[in-house]
Symmetry: none
Subunit: 212 residues, 4 copies
Amino acid sequence: MGTVKTKRMPRAVREQQMLDAAVRTFGQHGYMAASMDDIAELAGVSKPLVYLYLNSKEDLFAACIRREAGALTEAVRAGVDRELPADRQLWDGLRAFFTYTAEHPDGWSVLHIQARTHGERFASEVAAMREDIVAFVTQLIVAAAREAHRDPDLGEGEVAGLAEALVGAAESLAAWANATPGVTARQAAATLMNFAWAGLANLMEGRPWSPP
Amino acid sequence: MGTVKTKRMPRAVREQQMLDAAVRTFGQHGYMAASMDDIAELAGVSKPLVYLYLNSKEDLFAACIRREAGALTEAVRAGVDRELPADRQLWDGLRAFFTYTAEHPDGWSVLHIQARTHGERFASEVAAMREDIVAFVTQLIVAAAREAHRDPDLGEGEVAGLAEALVGAAESLAAWANATPGVTARQAAATLMNFAWAGLANLMEGRPWSPP
Amino acid sequence: MGTVKTKRMPRAVREQQMLDAAVRTFGQHGYMAASMDDIAELAGVSKPLVYLYLNSKEDLFAACIRREAGALTEAVRAGVDRELPADRQLWDGLRAFFTYTAEHPDGWSVLHIQARTHGERFASEVAAMREDIVAFVTQLIVAAAREAHRDPDLGEGEVAGLAEALVGAAESLAAWANATPGVTARQAAATLMNFAWAGLANLMEGRPWSPP
Amino acid sequence: MGTVKTKRMPRAVREQQMLDAAVRTFGQHGYMAASMDDIAELAGVSKPLVYLYLNSKEDLFAACIRREAGALTEAVRAGVDRELPADRQLWDGLRAFFTYTAEHPDGWSVLHIQARTHGERFASEVAAMREDIVAFVTQLIVAAAREAHRDPDLGEGEVAGLAEALVGAAESLAAWANATPGVTARQAAATLMNFAWAGLANLMEGRPWSPP
DNA sequence: CATGAATGAGGATTCATTCAT
DNA sequence: AATGAATGAATCCTCATTCAT
């Protein structure tokens, strides 16, 4: 069952309990199917209190997204040492990412699925986070080129597409790893590095695949 | 709005109109937020007729999924010539895929997002289609290795992970291409081929990226 | 399944098929829960035909009541020889009644339960039949008194009450006999004769039970 | 109309108001024809409150049955002194029964007609009550035989049939008394005692009516 | 004689949200 | 700081009934 029902907690604590309950409910049942009743009950408070603190279902959902996006970003940031070489940074970041999504499937579902399918307001909040990550990956690609003393001769759009593909592949692998028993975060990260980094290396060495 | 209201059509025609309206509504608002009223109105018929022909919201949604999955599969199949070399097949398949998803964004949303988030019944129907595609890509990877007279020395699980990553990257790129003005299906396909095929080539030549 | 679907029947036959289906459906599901769809399907015809012949659900129900009331009345009448002594007439009538209700449970349900609970129009149609029967029983009670050369010294109201009680007991026993395996029409009739006729005899012999 | 609309009542009170309204509506229009809208309006509350407290139409109906069955049973029990002779007990019980059914026609309709025609769940709940009553009457018949120092020489099945007939007659008379102006509970009880008890006496004295 | 196509009206149920305490 | 009591507005779904052929 949900949080133990304790009376008279400070507002900040109660709010976190509510967000916990909301993330879990939104993640498991989806935004529309999640009812404020369910969330209040799981949080161990009455519905009016939820409204008093979080205002509305929309605001509550937005607060969930903000909290979860922050936590995921922070987890990845904490896993990466910006002094190390680019490939090491990517490897560390991916492991942190897969570890976090495996440990917080509801939060990940809220960010990856729910937030993107219920209106611009939410989608754009996640898009901002995603753009941060894509920008980080883009930096890494450029840095890798520099480290290799190569001019990748890639346009901005092309690099953006590659970063996008890499991030998209990571997101898909996260769902796959969560759904496939026995696949660890480390294995998912290794698969993606093999798939992606080697391909990038080829590109930078001037051996792109060219359409027929 | 929607289909022009014409009276007394044969059942088969009306059913297609209803599915058109349903795919559009489900794709744009999501399964839960789509109301049968909206769908009936968009189809230009009364609600009872929708129920008479399609039984229930669930059945209607399932019918949408089946129709869209069939159409997407067929589009990809029609774009590929199984006699050509593996890389050419992948290239053609990807172009067909990106073209189709660009032209049918609502259908793609139904398959990619909605169907996966509203119950096993729907998820499994899409999963079957996806497995077909992953299997096709897996074949191509193996075929590519054979064509290159290389033993890629990859376990089954590794190939599956790679195929999964490739398909996942394609799915993400489809969303990105749809959302980014000026990105064509051809460009999306080229980006992914560059990203993926070159990486696969490295792998087959025994130069995998290895974790530190 | 319902009546075998044969095309192009004369109107009278089709009407009987519809009434058969309607009695069965009304008897088993009740007036409100029975749908015109069900009835039409069971009758093997299209709904518009039902409306063409029987006009409306109300009219159809009324037609059922009329037919079933006539059949029940006729069955009882055919079982009784008005020349015989009163107790013999009652005995024969009861056997005919219990036999008929056992063989036509749906028709009996329509008359006994459905007709009485869905508006004056139907209730009064059954009430007329019932009054016929109560009048018949009243006659028998009076005749029995005359046969016994007794003046029962019973007011009209009292005789009416007794007849009502007898008919009511018969109706209840019909339901009980239908629901209790192993109870035949003959046994039900015997139980009621024992219960009722002997009591009536006492009354006529001037030995009523008197309240304390 | 209905209960006076007063705001903010404790739950227990509101529930009783809802049950009052529901019994009246179910009794007068039948289970199927009664709409939750009607009931809520008659109770002076909004529909969601009815659902909040009573869950569903089925549960509401079941709650009505339970309440009414309990009240009727209690009324009869309170009217009977188990220390008195059997005939006196039956007389008192019948008067209590006819009085109660006359004063609560809707409740009686719910128990006698509605509950028996809308599914096992409800039927069995009334059947239990009825079996209690039939058992009580059966006891009285046996006790009467013992008081008369007679061996009625009746099998179990025959006694059961007699009790059933008596209870059935009482049920029918209740409907008749309610529908016939000027018939009091006392008169209905007297009619039935005359009809039934004298007949039972004959049986016990070894003078049954025998089929020809 | 017979039906495929179609709908207006309503019924059960749920939900986000507020008020009075 | 917290809640029991209450509702307006949808939503899914069904049904009796009709029209055009």
